[in-house]
């Protein structure tokens, strides 16, 4: 289990904001935690997949995509803030993220 520091949290936020600003050709300063990924940014699941791959490589994560998918079914992600929170949990718990349900 990885320990999440303030530095990690800031890094994840920076990556997520920069990613969506570039992918969605949006002004980064207009993206907030409350920005809806689909409605406001026209984001899609391929972007989500790409972002997961970025974090898997950066933090050398042991997690299967379908594990994230199962978790997301019960904890749908709509906003940038929710996505960052999910990503923090993924980094912290990796494949054990589903055990948080038990």
């Amino acid at each position: 289990m990885a320990k999440i520091t303030e530095s990690t949290r800031n890094e994840v936020r920076e990556i997520v904001f920069a990613f969506f600003a570039e992918e969605c050709e949006a002004d980064k300063s207009h993206i907030t935690d409350n920005t809806n990924i689909i409605k406001d940014l026209d984001g899609d699941s391929l972007m989500f997949l790409e972002l997961i791959e970025i974090f898997k490589k950066k933090y050398n994560l042991d997690i299967e995509l379908k594990t994230i998918g199962k978790y997301a079914v019960k904890h749908p992600v709509e906003t940038i803030g929710q996505l960052i929170e999910m990503q923090m949990l993924i980094i912290e718990h990796e494949n054990r993220i589903l055990e948080l349900e038990k």
Binding site: D42, S45, L46, L49, T67, I68, K70, A72
Partner: protein, 309 residues
């Protein structure tokens, strides 16, 4: 732009026109209207009522194919008249017709004839429309096969866009069950493609035989610009091979991932999608290499515009 750096890729269907960049391009508009007029006169008069917002024909499988073809040909022709010629071309699924047209292998009218004949032959051989296709993102090839096997679903993986993005086809009931199970299994995205034809499956082999009668009597020539086969990832070098490709394309699975990799590996690193959306661009992000997609309108620089516009 150097000719040896660019590939044109043609989509199969149009999902929407939200990202359509052609609104500010009068040269495209005129070419599109010219092609639309020809298509209306030789294939379907109703095409003249097309409007990207009020009447886009998105739900009409045949007219959507016509419009995708017309748009793709118009887009590529706009680029050609601006002096932008690709060194290779590829057609995603039914995008093959526009690819062959632009390569010089068939006339615009012959491309329309192939689309019409294939559709009518498919409808004649599968009249009940109990079929469909779906896309799934987030599961592996192994996950999908195991899921289908566990639930006795008779489906085929007909295309791999990347290692976690696939297209399946088959019986529509099985498709619907698969979509439910795929979401339970952890797919990030699983949805029907909204078609009633199981393209790229052997369910269309009878239709392919019927299509071949038209294809083998039509005027088909060797492509002047190399067209990369999405079935075998090699170059469609002559007329005979072009004919074979058109017929085999409708009832054989293809591999878009390997097709793009093949193009990358041949040293071509810039792609442009000859369509109104960005579906192929999005898929390309997962393909190893240094290639990138550029929007087709950005290739038409102001100083390259037609003198007539």
């Amino acid at each position: 732009m150097a000719e040896d750096t660019l590939a044109f890729v043609f989509p199969a269907f149009i999902a929407d026109y939200r990202d359509d960049p052609s609104g500010n391009m009068p040269e495209f508009r005129q070419i599109f209207l010219d092609y639309l007029g020809v298509a209306a006169s030789v294939a379907d008069p109703a095409l003249l009522s097309f409007h990207a917002v009020s009447n886009p024909f998105l739900e009409d499988e045949l007219r959507n194919q016509y419009l995708t073809y017309i748009y793709g040909c118009s887009c590529a022709e706009t680029l050609r008249r601006s002096g932008i010629i690709p060194s290779v071309i590829a057609g995603y699924s039914m995008g093959i017709y526009a690819a062959l047209y632009f390569s010089g292998s068939v006339s615009f009218e012959t491309g329309l004839l192939f689309i019409t004949t294939a559709y009518e032959a498919i409808r004649a051989s599968l009249p009940n429309k109990h079929y469909g296709m779906c896309g799934v993102i987030g599961l592996s090839d192994k996950d999908i096969r195991e899921l289908a096997g566990r639930n006795n679903l008779d489906l085929m993986i007909v295309n791999r866009n990347n290692d976690y993005s696939f297209i399946l086809a088959g019986n529509s009931f099985h498709i619907n069950v698969f979509l439910l199970k795929a979401r339970e299994e952890g797919a990030l995205h699983a949805r029907s493609l909204g078609v009633t034809i199981p393209y790229h499956t052997n369910l269309l082999s009878e239709a392919a035989r019927e299509l071949s009668k038209t294809v083998y009597t039509a005027d088909v020539r060797s492509p002047k610009i190399p067209v990369i086969s999405v079935l075998r990832q090699d170059s469609i070098g002559d007329a005979e091979r072009a004919r074979t490709e058109v017929v085999k394309n409708i009832f054989n699975p293809f591999n878009w991932l390997e097709t793009q990799q093949q193009i990358f590996n041949s040293g071509i690193h810039i792609f442009t999608e000859c369509g109104p959306s960005l579906a192929l661009k999005k898929n390309s992000k997962f393909i190893p290499g240094t290639g990138k997609f550029v929007s087709w309108d950005s290739l038409v620089s102001d100083d390259a515009r037609f003198a007539s516009t």
